[in-house]
Symmetry: C2
Subunit: 437 residues, 2 copies
Amino acid sequence: MARRNYILDTIKDTFRLFGYQQLETPSMENLSVLTGKYGDEGDQLLYKILNSGDYLKKVNATDLDAGTAAMLPKIAEKGLRYDLTVPFARYVVMNRNEITYPFKRFQIQPVWRADRPQKGRYREFYQCDADVVGTDSLICEVEILLMIRRVFAHLKLTDYDIKINNRKILTGLSEVIGEPGKEGQLCVAIDKLDKIGWEKVQEELLQRGFAQPSIDKLEPVISQKGSNADKLEFLKGFLASSEEGTKGVRELEEVFALLAEYGEDEAHVELDLVLARGLSYYTGAIFEVKVNKVSIGSVSGGGRYDNLTGVFGLEGVSGVGFSFGVDRIYDVLEELSLFPADQERSTEVMIGYFDEKGKKYGLKVLNALRQAGLSSEIYPDEVKVKKQFHYADKKNIPFVIMIGDEEIDQNKVTLKNLHTGDQSMYDLAEAITLIKA
Amino acid sequence: MARRNYILDTIKDTFRLFGYQQLETPSMENLSVLTGKYGDEGDQLLYKILNSGDYLKKVNATDLDAGTAAMLPKIAEKGLRYDLTVPFARYVVMNRNEITYPFKRFQIQPVWRADRPQKGRYREFYQCDADVVGTDSLICEVEILLMIRRVFAHLKLTDYDIKINNRKILTGLSEVIGEPGKEGQLCVAIDKLDKIGWEKVQEELLQRGFAQPSIDKLEPVISQKGSNADKLEFLKGFLASSEEGTKGVRELEEVFALLAEYGEDEAHVELDLVLARGLSYYTGAIFEVKVNKVSIGSVSGGGRYDNLTGVFGLEGVSGVGFSFGVDRIYDVLEELSLFPADQERSTEVMIGYFDEKGKKYGLKVLNALRQAGLSSEIYPDEVKVKKQFHYADKKNIPFVIMIGDEEIDQNKVTLKNLHTGDQSMYDLAEAITLIKA
């Protein structure tokens, strides 16, 4: 947890600096809230809670033959949350009249997926989400870029890309290539470009009913290189005939313009014309962050949605949000050896002693150290000094205060710095000042 | 979460000050780990997770008739943790060779119980546990008293009692009244004294097979009043014939003696001869904390256990631990109006503006405020100033920086203090200094 807190505290500080307030929602939601929100695969991966008490009371012998899907509603009403977005949407709808908009909330809680565990994929993992709802201002998109850069700068991560695109551009693309209304299909296929390559994506597009001439028209988009400005310039021409596509280009242009108004450059921000993101509810900007030269997938992502709460009966609430994958960031920091060395230290001072008399004297010293705000402890059992030092060493404690007869007689303490090996006798007040320094 | 964090941060700071390190364990445990650890009622209240995939594959038509208990192992392998103690014991056993003893860990995570929700009783609630294992030093018991007092002092809770007793005393009592070996039954019955009174407890003891003459011998214990020293004196005589009881008295005496060695008094600490605590694994000191004049039950409790890990195959690991009921403490602070007024504030400064020009200027100001470490935000949409101030007011934001043409022309900002109503124009650097002050 020491290492995980290092990441979580950095993220929390950043969210707070940007005016987000923390929310937590219950671990369990009604299955009716969760089901159908994450696609068929998501429904499979939901953890379901067996009803308490007599969970078989609604079950007949014939239900057994009807199979797991038919039986499920009779024995399980609740499930564990699968992400933080759907519970948040549910929360907004339930509290629509109490909330002050724009509502900026962050949420850091575990989510659960009944997946096969593997590197970068866990059954229980923390998500860290920040969302603003009730505004369509692109300032929110820019602040997402700034928050990601702040978190990564504090974690000393330097080699990464924040990829940004806009769903309206993908809609525009499907229009100008002659396959209007198929942006969903286009997204799903193009999302795999990184993994399977352009050849295979073309095959998939064919299977999904795209005509080869339409696919060929995508070629210049796929091969587009250059600066963000170059790409925007290209898109302006390429999508000129699509109203929605042109709107997407304009939104992206404004994001970059606002970034400049903050006095910030475009470092790490890369317009990626084929960034699609799997989730179907995005309608505007989409983001994804990859750390380069590590074996972990994306560590952050998000986007704008115009109607996240519509599924719960509240229409017209636009919002934008993103999420940090803390457990993946953990793996990245470990792979790159970026955790600070003293992260696992908790106790600053241990009090050691030779005998019962020293222990008693030590208890008063201990109390004084804590009153001075120093995290400290005494070795609780009367054991050999060597064993006490072994404990301090294992726990990465930097200072030991030793109490012997001389210290008691002179009303002093011996302070030892375990890094340097230096030790001297001091008044307690002096020792406290030295430790704090 | 702002209010909950106020409590959690106080507790975490205290645990860290006393040298405890944070641990988290997974939400799910194998049901074999959880079942049988909390009594029959606990087993009923465990949330069980339906196996993923084809959860019916091991189920036959005849299983349905066998009932819920027989069917359970075929459809659910995992459950949600019910407390933090059992997962901790499981953790210690699994990591016994990597752990440095004495092992001081704290753990703050939700637990789940399939209970009927009511005030002070929730289906999901946070537990905050601190335990030391691998030492039987009574210093640990004293530090529990000190930690509770520190947390309560910081939360401004003044009217409360930390009740302390020792299981060995209860063992001694059952011996000297002539019912040796029945300390478990005695605990269960006597634990209800507060709720049902001495008459009913006597009835229950009769039902549990205690003879009336034995019960009568308990009378002086029940009616014992006076100081902690008085009670100890009484017990010394009363339990003189019981070896175990005498040991319990000696342990309690040492706890009070050590407390004095720390230079601390006995404020709030009350020896309660009939404190029993329900859980069966306690073997030494037991604690319970009640806040007076509120409608909530105990808000903290714990005790020493000599063999918590034995059930998982590791014998002889003594430990002592306690737990804060955060959600109950929340209710207490609310009932006593003890939450600080500014607790719900998150953003320190909001930037308001009259038009697009002001907004653009405001973005640079915003960036500077954040770089100075001030939690700040800009109202993202161009709306009337009144609406912007309404937002700041609702969000309890203490300062607004307003940007109009004059501010832009003079390269200044207008700072308004929403509490006092004062407003003036300043250089940005001056404004930042004022806000920080």
